[in-house]
Point group: C2
Chain length 203, copies 2
DNA sequence: TCGACACGACCGACCAGTCAGTCGAGTGAG
DNA sequence: CTCACTCGACTGACTGGTCGGTCGTGTCGA
């Protein structure tokens, strides 16, 4: 294939980083390819050597971001720790990630909305969400305690609720004028949800 | 001001309706003003008589949609029914609204994302969210039962969680490839949340 | 007759994408 | 060793289509 594939990978990464920053600052539609070019320290032609179009750049960026997140999730899932602790780690990972670069959340929101126009982005988010719920369901089933949701459909329903809770709280945090402590609020809410989930008898 | 203010209001409403449909179908950025013009049965000049720019049209649309929703919320709040029933009504209103026109949710998501570029939209959503949480807090405090969250900060925190739950579930529903029954899932999740909220002793 | 309202052809800024060309690292025949 | 040639990577000035917005011109009710 390429003589030096590593170079290509590095170049792509460099462009992704620049694109993320530019898209985060200006928003996808207002960002000019020339802006990305400038930020990445590449030429216009160089950019188009690696990406066929602006949409492909955005799609690639989504892939990269979600892959990164999936990687983190997989790491948590395979960590040798009690399920309760691993759940806590998931929440903390979200909060830390967003606290460190607050631009990420609005960027993700915009890319998500972009899914309406670019089907592949939608598909990508879709698959990612599906897998996230799947992971959560496993985690919840492993929680232990006699009344933790049983594996199977019940755990999946519970996982959907937890996932929605996380999404919603992150969304609120993203949009809030006076940002609250995301980790605290998120963890508290998830705990409340779990408490409600226990004690759930038939139906 | 206008000789016939009613006519102007009607015209605006007609344009809003068309704009909502076009934006929902094509997405804000892909939608051409000419598309809106065609859909609304107005001329370009007519459209620009009422809206100074595309952004102002979008902003107006956001105002109108949120005002409509706020209206519905106020109606629920002042309804003469037990708090539990009113909460149920809120959930049902969401589910029905979205079931009736499934295009609304993605449209709202896109407009929300547009808030990154158009500050007034962001402000508008912000105020709306704030008020929504406020209403929910009142509702939760009125829920009755000895352990319903007390009015004040505690109710507000609880309300934030409930609001996030609703947002998140709607988001999941919006993006899900195989849409589930939103009303069921939402109500179940809210109930779980409330159950967890009860029994919450000090801290 | 007047002015609010409506019309739609037209303008021109803007920007994604192109393309003709440069550069430097291989390759291999003589 | 070297010269002629290939090829992948990269450059940046340029273009052509696309729309948001304008403007000169009606129309019609009061």
């Amino acid at each position: 294939m390429t003589v030096d594939a590593d170079r290509a990978v590095a170049r792509k990464a460099q462009i992704f980083e620049a694109a993320a920053a530019v898209f985060a600052r200006l928003g996808y539609h207002h960002a000019r390819m020339d802006d990305v070019v400038r930020a990445a320290g590449v030429s216009k032609g160089g950019l188009y050597w690696y990406f066929r179009s602006k949409e492909e750049l955005a799609t690639g960026l989504v892939h990269q971001m979600l892959a990164h997140e999936a990687e983190a999730m997989r790491a948590v899932m395979t960590a040798g720790a009690p399920a309760a602790d691993r759940l806590r780690m998931v929440v903390r990972a979200f909060a830390r990630e967003l606290a460190q670069n607050p631009d990420r959340a609005p960027l993700a929101l915009e890319l998500l909305a972009l899914g309406r126009t670019i089907p592949e982005i939608r598909t990508c988010f879709d698959a990612h969400h599906e897998q996230f719920v799947e992971h959560l369901a496993v985690l919840l089933a492993q929680l232990g305690g006699p009344d933790s949701p049983a594996p199977g459909p019940r755990a999946r329903t519970a996982a959907l609720a937890v996932a929605a809770m996380i999404d919603g709280m992150v969304l609120r945090w993203t949009l809030a004028r006076s940002p609250f402590d995301l980790e605290d609020a998120l963890w508290a809410a998830v705990q409340v949800l779990l408490r409600g989930l226990r004690e759930t008898g038939p139906r």
